[in-house]
């Protein structure tokens, strides 16, 4: 189409100019990406504008100063700057420098427009993303170059805004996993540990001090983690809440790393309560496994530690037998089990068989674990475990209290004094407050000290004999009765037994079980009964199952019998039956 006349062209042009020229004039279009064209030559601007108008919203500046004003007034929504180098007032290179030095602006890509070949490299060095030469190349080339730069920068922006967690500024999981994959590809032969890190009792900290405090704690801890990463050639991700994951070159000094992580970070400034950190480690992680699986293993290891008072790190070992995993779960669940009273005390009656008819004289308290998921767990599994892990004292205390409170209930309801024997572990005997604790329990439940029979295994008395003897004496002086459990299986000497103050010997069930198949073991029973008679204390036979066994034990002079022949260990409700039938 041709315009009618020269004057018509001028009139058209001047209107056009008032509309679109001038400082920072723009054509509004909200849906398009914005490009700033900084170019002093009208003709050049118009050519570019014409090429880009369909795809972009165009903002124009005629000189460097105007462009800078525009940029500084908050034009951070630009997708691209097209910058001519030869500009009046402020040159293109100067403007490029200013843009690159400004963190609010240097994420906007710049394409330089230049006719000087020698300046092209310099522009790229100054931070330009690309250049377009003059005279301009084919419009399709201009379009393609501009689109490519805009897309690249948008991708980079997307990565920048999503690769880091908003709170901690650590990697988010998605990007962390990607970088782990990169790391594996670049260094396939380097051994790596997948580590999961947690803050102990974080939920309590959060409840006690509030979310803003716990958030700031997470931020402080995150900064620390980030700082420590070079030491272990690692990278870190904030997974969720107080859980962090680290991918590090294999190392072994976990104690040191744990110390460094929490050093001088307090959860309570007033009382200087130190931050406690726990760590689950999947060592030399198998790179054939999914990244997710590797960190899942680290998390499994970490979860074993949650609420544990014993350890602060745990190493996942896929050679770990199921039993060990099971045991770790039991340890982990110990606190909950105590709090939720999952431990249930059963009672097995003990009968005196020396009279005309067997007579109920006492009961033994035996603990069972009624696990909500795992079902009834045998004490044979968890007691040795708790002994090893230092938890047995708490379980013993629990059982003492339960048994005492049960006795109180029986006495109130049935007016019967049936003493109950409870287990006293070796470690309890070294507790200086043992006597006090037991006396308190007895007092609280309105019992006599003689109601609580204390069973000490013979093997508990094999070393530190003097301490054991002193403690046993103190207990007896307080009125408690002491039964030596599993007698005959330990290695205690007769002279030690002679010095140990005691009130009964319990014959281990293994002797009873074999008594009628082996002449020798029958003799063992007799020997134990002889020792008891020498010490002037009764014997108690455990694991008695048949009428025949009862008859023989009676004849051998055994006083008290406990076992399936009379009753298996039963819940307290069932045990009540023995109290009502007894005179």
């Amino acid at each position: 189409m041709l315009l009618g006349s020269k004057s018509a062209i001028f009139s058209f042009l001047s209107k056009w100019e008032t509309l679109i020229e001038g400082k920072g004039a723009m054509i509004m279009n909200k849906n398009k990406r914005k490009i700033l064209i900084v170019e002093d030559e009208f003709v050049n601007r118009e050519i570019l504008k014409n090429i880009l108008l369909d795809d972009f919203e165009i903002i124009e500046a005629e000189d460097g100063e105007t462009a800078l004003e525009l940029l500084n007034s908050g034009r951070d929504d630009l997708s691209l700057i097209l910058l001519d180098l030869f500009l009046p007032k402020l040159s293109g290179l100067e403007l490029l420098n200013i843009i690159q030095a400004n963190t609010a602006l240097n994420n906007i890509p710049v394409i330089v427009l230049t006719s000087d070949k020698e300046l092209e490299v310099q522009c790229l060095q100054y931070g330009a993303s690309d250049f377009i030469s003059k005279p301009y190349p084919d419009s399709s080339i201009i379009k393609a170059r501009i689109n490519r730069v805009v897309e690249l920068f948008e991708d980079r922006q997307t990565i920048k805004s999503t690769e880091r967690d908003a709170l901690t500024r650590l990697y988010t999981r998605e990007y962390f996993y990607k970088y782990v994959a990169d790391e594996d590809r670049l260094n396939p032969n380097v051994e790596r540990d997948a580590i999961a890190i947690g803050i102990r009792s974080f939920h309590i900290i959060k409840e006690r001090f509030g979310t803003s405090f716990s958030d700031s704690l997470l931020v402080r801890f995150s900064k620390r983690l980030k700082k420590l990463m070079p030491n272990i050639s690692g990278m870190v991700c904030h997974l969720e809440a107080d859980t962090f994951i680290v991918y590090a070159q294999h190392f072994v000094d976990y104690e040191k790393f744990l110390e460094e992580m929490s050093a001088d970070i307090y959860v309570d400034k007033e009382s200087k309560t130190p931050l406690k950190v726990q760590m689950g480690i999947y060592q030399n992680a198998d790179k054939n496994l999914d990244i997710d699986v590797r960190f899942e293993r680290a998390k499994i290891a970490l979860n074993k530690l949650r609420d544990s008072v014993v350890k602060n790190y745990f190493i996942f070992d896929d050679k770990l037998k199921e039993k060990e995993l099971f045991e770790e779960e039991l340890l982990e669940e110990f606190n909950t089990a105590i709090n939720e009273k999952q431990f249930v005390v059963f009672y097995q009656p003990k009968f005196n068989i020396q009279g005309e008819a067997p007579r109920l004289v006492s009961a033994e308290a035996l603990v069972r674990w009624k696990h909500p998921q795992k079902g009834l767990i045998s004490p044979g599994i968890f007691i040795p475990l708790f002994e090893e892990k230092g938890l047995i004292q708490r379980l013993d205390l629990y059982v003492w209290k339960e048994a005492a409170s049960q006795m109180k209930k029986w006495q109130e309801k049935y007016h019967k004094h049936v003493p109950v024997s409870v287990n006293v572990s070796r470690i309890d005997l070294f507790d200086p407050t043992l006597v006090e604790t037991l006396l308190e329990i007895v007092k609280e439940n309105g019992l006599k000290t003689s109601d609580l029979l204390l069973e000490i295994t013979e093997s508990a008395c094999t070393d530190n004999v003097d301490v054991i003897i002193d403690k046993a004496s103190a207990l007896r002086a307080a009125g408690f009765k002491i039964e030596i459990d599993d007698f005959g299986t330990g290695y205690s000497s007769l002279s030690m037994i002679n010095k140990l103050p005691l009130d009964a010997l319990k014959i281990d069930m293994i002797f009873i079980r074999n008594a009628f198949t082996s002449e020798n073991d029958n003799k063992m029973i007799k020997i134990i009964i002889d020792i008891a008679s020498y010490l002037k204390v009764p014997t108690i036979a455990e694991g008695v199952e048949t009428k025949e066994q009862v008859a023989v034990l009676k004849e051998l002079g055994c006083d008290i019998v406990q076992g399936y022949y009379f009753s298996k260990p039963v819940p307290n409700e069932e045990f009540a039956a023995f109290l009502t039938t007894e005179k």
């Binding site: 041709l2 003709v43 118009e46 050519i47 014409n50 030869f86 419009s139």
Partner: protein, 112 residues
């Protein structure tokens, strides 16, 4: 009146120029007219005569960009050579170049 055909006869690389304007003939002609109206060559000539070669270079450089983008080949040849000489601040008699430019320019202007 300026037409595509007249520009072609003048020696402009019309196809290239039009290509830059995404084959918008009206825009192309408008921009050539704009170039003629905004004639900055007298400033360049003054700068050369005043021996301000730096200023002259800047004007020539800008002019070269515009002329190049419009593919006005007869003018481009002259302005290109002029720009390179001025880039090196060559002290010489520029009257030949000035004359060549002015002739080419008036030929183009006469097409209107």
């Amino acid at each position: 009146m300026l037409t595509i055909e007249k520009l072609r006869q003048y020696g402009a690389n019309v196809d290239e120029g039009l290509q830059r304007c995404v084959n918008n003939e009206q825009l192309y002609l408008t921009l050539v007219n704009r170039f003629l109206d905004q004639n900055t060559f007298p400033d360049l000539k003054d700068a050369i005569l005043a021996h301000d070669l730096e200023k002259a270079f800047h004007i020539a450089h800008s002019l070269k960009g515009v002329i190049g983008n419009l593919s006005l080949s007869p003018l481009y040849d002259v302005i290109y050579q002029l720009t390179e000489l001025l880039r090196n601040r060559t002290e010489m008699d520029y009257s030949n170049y000035i004359q060549r430019y002015e002739v080419s320019y008036s030929m183009l202007s006469a097409l209107r």
